[in-house]
Symmetry: C2
Subunit: 137 residues, 2 copies
């Protein structure tokens, strides 16, 4: 049983360069930035290749992915600060009852140098009850 989407066996210069680039910077680049940087070396490079290789590298645990932006925003009417539980299986989101920790901002600020921390966002990921019992079957 193997759920990997990409089963790479071959070597790819492009993939090497993407990983190398990521390892050489602390900018947490977007796919597009990588594309721009590598375009001069591979004039016929395509964004599809970037994305495919990022997915492969990610699958291999060689890189991490941080999602931002707004593909699939969720909304809620509760406007006080609180944290969420997110089910990785079904996408369900629940509010979590632990108190909001303002102290976290101070702790972060203490290590953030000249960066000025104003707030934070914390989410917990795992399995909701439903999906857990599904998996037990």
């Amino acid at each position: 049983m193997n759920n990997l989407k990409y089963q790479i066996t071959r070597h790819s210069v492009q993939r090497d360069r993407i990983l190398e680039l990521l390892r050489s910077t602390d900018r947490h680049p977007t796919a597009d930035w990588l594309y721009d940087k590598l375009k001069s070396d591979f004039p016929r490079l395509s964004l599809g290749t970037i994305y495919r290789n990022l997915a492969i590298l990610h699958e291999q645990g060689l890189i991490r992915k941080i999602s931002f932006g707004s593909a699939f925003d969720r909304f809620e009417a509760r406007v006080d600060h609180h944290y969420h539980l997110v089910c990785e299986e079904c996408g369900r989101i629940m509010d979590l009852a632990i108190p909001f920790d303002e102290e976290l901002n101070k702790k972060a600020n203490a290590s953030a140098g000249t960066f000025q921390v104003r707030h934070h966002r914390l989410e917990f990921y795992g399995l909701c009850e439903n999906c857990r019992s599904q998996k037990d079957k």
Copy 2:
């Protein structure tokens, strides 16, 4: 000086219903879910209206928005667990030096009921040095 994009003055039944719906549920809906729910009451409703009103409600502080998904993913070669600083002005992302807190998962689990917490994601938002000095001018 007013930077608000939406300056609402008028009343809208659709907006009322969106807020009412959000207040009546704990599902943290997507725009599409709201659209589906309201479609029967407003047969000619459009998703554009949903999005516009969500933006207005958000601007008024009546609702919160949680972004997930992948519009603008960022990648990094550092694969150990760590936290990030995100500049709200320029979008720059930096690694934060505070230790990764595995205890957080346990704390969350203790309040999560039947939800099984496996990991978490924590980001700090604020202003980087550059953008801070820009603002002082």
